[in-house]
Amino acid sequence: MIKFLGYYIICIMKVNLEAIKDLLLGVEKPSRYTGGEFGVPEMQESAFDFCMCFPDLYEVGMSNLGIKIVAESIRKRGFCADFCFAPYKDFGRGLKERGAPLYSLALKKPLKEFDMLGFSLQFELCYTNVLYMLDLAGIPLLRSERKDGSYPLIAVGGPCAVNPEPLADFVDVVFIGDGESIDADVAEIYVKHGGATEEFYKEISALDGVYCPALTRPVYEGGRIKEFEGVAKIKKALVKNLDGAVFPEEFAVPNCESVHDRAVIEVMRGCYRGCRFCQAGFIYRPVRRRSVETLTAQACALIKNTGYDEVSLNSLSTGDYPRLRELLKSLKQGLPDGVKLALPSLRADSFDGDFAQDSRRVSLTFAPEAGSQRLRDVINKDITLEEILRAAESAFDAGYSAVKLYFMLGLPTETDEDLEEINRICAYIKGAYRKKPRAKQLRISVSCSTFIPKPFTPFQWESQASEQEIERKQNVLKQTLRVKGVNLSWSDNFTARLEAVLARGDRRLCKVIMNAYENGCIFDSWDKELNKNGWIKAFADTGTDMREYTRERNEDEILAWDFIDVGVTKKFLLSERKKAYCGSVTGSCLSGCKGCGLQPDCEAANGGGK
């Protein structure tokens, strides 16, 4: 009876699109909010209703593979998994004005009526958008205000979850590591206990990859963390075999064009390289690969079911996939004519003109990250100018006429000489282009982002250069970059600083984030939306100094994310930090195991991987 009643209430609680028609017609791209995409499976309410939430726009979220995998894993267990994306300001405002709640796309069910909302944290600047979505859903932001059990569980996962503390006061469950099975395991346990009971929390917190902030408390002494009360180390969830892992055969084809509107296969997870600034290179270890057979089958199924004409071969470094040539051949044979292949993450040393032969792209992106060989050795980029030039030449010969170069400013040990070397790279690339007569004029764009020290990297102890220092470095670059026709751009200084604070933040930042949201900060990663004053006020009003978070950490200090175990040992990270200061390159895992701590689960460490 109660169940029947519950069902009845849910039924009348659905959001009716006709009722908000005038709102839909008054906003930009209404098809973001209507659902009904081709390829969305038939959905019905189930014993456990999950809504995968993405704290960015529809077009961005619909291109994300991770959330599709998590939703698929939940559906595979017989539960419902719907989607919701952050609405743009016009629609969000309209919902609020009408008192209409934020709803899921397929069922049009208010988010408040779900059993669990899972937010995917792709980067730190989306944190206020998580609060924005909760607020639009009519869900109290703070966990302490949701105690009566009438609200869904609020969960987060994704790369930023490796340091979940800045969101600790808002969330009930944090998923750390691979999302293929852990989210669905928690769903089953929830159903078993009939809700988020004490037993439920006890059982899930014993699992690898689950962190419940309510059960732990950091203890401070003199402004530094002294200990974590109530928590032992939390190991990340690890999927050992990607070939057997859940992968959707069908994608929902977005109503309006998404940022990467194409089919995606995940060739590998993890990276053999270990560039010292790169968080993904450490938290996704060990490298796991899918077989050529699995990848071909997945790509063919996706193309057949979606009608896309492009497949992207995703990984952190697709050129390191040992059977890449074989894979490309197999895909070309298996896929219908005219389907393009995209290789978005190729290192310069693995780029080969052959890979580009049949696509008509004009622009190629390289990421040398640092101007000089010395600095590239410091960050373990393990790439030489010769390799960059060889790759550029082979790209030019294949018809490319534009090069994008990514660099970082403010890397540890960086000097002005290192910055001046960026000019030299541009000059050499121009020289390589001029070796042969070519039809078009070469375009070079240099994009400099600010270095942000991230947890679980060998640079997690480093300070971030001050805004003044970064500005000075940008000026040095402007003055020394003398090659004509180079287009120089850089990231916003305040944004980089904010990202750095949030990345290595602790639980004390919850009140800053809350405050910033109340000051109207959302879509912080957008240049035109960033509300710098709102953030500055939030830091000031809460008495929080940004410098406390961008400062260098002592090596013996307890870090806010130390209770999380991503498998890479602190000892290894420290040794990598030392090697960085000696300018010593560690090199790829494929050239021999470097002993990062994940050897028992690592194919490459055990002689495989070639």
């Binding site: 839909l24 009904g36 081709f38 109503n255």
Partner: protein, 196 residues
């Protein structure tokens, strides 16, 4: 070449024209109906649509032609692979591009929610000048071909193509003049030498 009539309902009325084209292209790909491509530097599928429909206007009379060969039942194949709001209602084999964007001269619509008024009141006017979203002033009177109330619903025929009258604009004008609130505009049919 196949010419077909299809719907734009069930949420598809919120799709922009370009997104709609993309959906038709992908539907045909999923249905494994091979569409010929243009022979240029940037080949694109030879799919020809009628004029864009205003956002939010539903339709059961959108027309499209695709340069393809389809041996089986085109509608069945298309509908098995199309989004729920885009469904083929009728189709026929044609020798050449019917050029719906040019040949469709007027369309019939049905609007609900506008307060009842005497159609003669509009039809007897000599001129009705409206300002469109781009600030241009247009006399729409000569673009209204028929207007009548039936069962509380307003049925009207308006110009399309060169002498286009956006049905949602027209309804907004009627709302302003006679009151009520349009909650649905549906395109029922299109008139032109090649429609069916």
């Amino acid at each position: 070449m196949i010419a077909f009539r299809y719907t734009k309902t069930d949420g598809a009325e919120y799709l922009s024209h370009l997104d709609l084209l993309r959906h038709i292209d992908r539907t045909l790909k999923r249905a494994q109906i091979k569409v010929k491509t243009s022979e240029g530097y940037n080949p694109h599928p030879r799919i020809f649509m009628n004029n864009p429909l205003g956002l939010g206007v539903k339709s059961v009379a959108e027309y499209c032609a695709a340069d393809c060969d389809c041996t089986g039942d085109f509608a069945e194949a298309f509908n098995a692979s199309s989004p729920s709001g885009i469904k083929c209602l009728a189709y026929r084999e044609v020798a050449e591009n019917p050029n719906f964007a040019y040949t469709i001269k007027s369309c019939g619509y049905c609007a609900e929610g506008i307060a009842a008024f005497d159609p003669e009141e509009i039809l007897s006017r000599k001129s009705i000048v409206l300002t469109d979203t781009r600030g241009r002033q247009t006399d729409i009177r000569e673009r209204i071909y028929a207007l009548e109330f039936k069962d509380g619903k307003l049925f009207f025929t308006a110009g399309c193509g060169e002498k286009n009258l956006r049905p949602d604009f027209f309804c907004a004008f009627l709302e302003k003049t006679f009151g009520g609130r349009t909650h649905s505009v549906l395109k029922l049919c299109a008139f032109g030498e090649n429609t069916f």
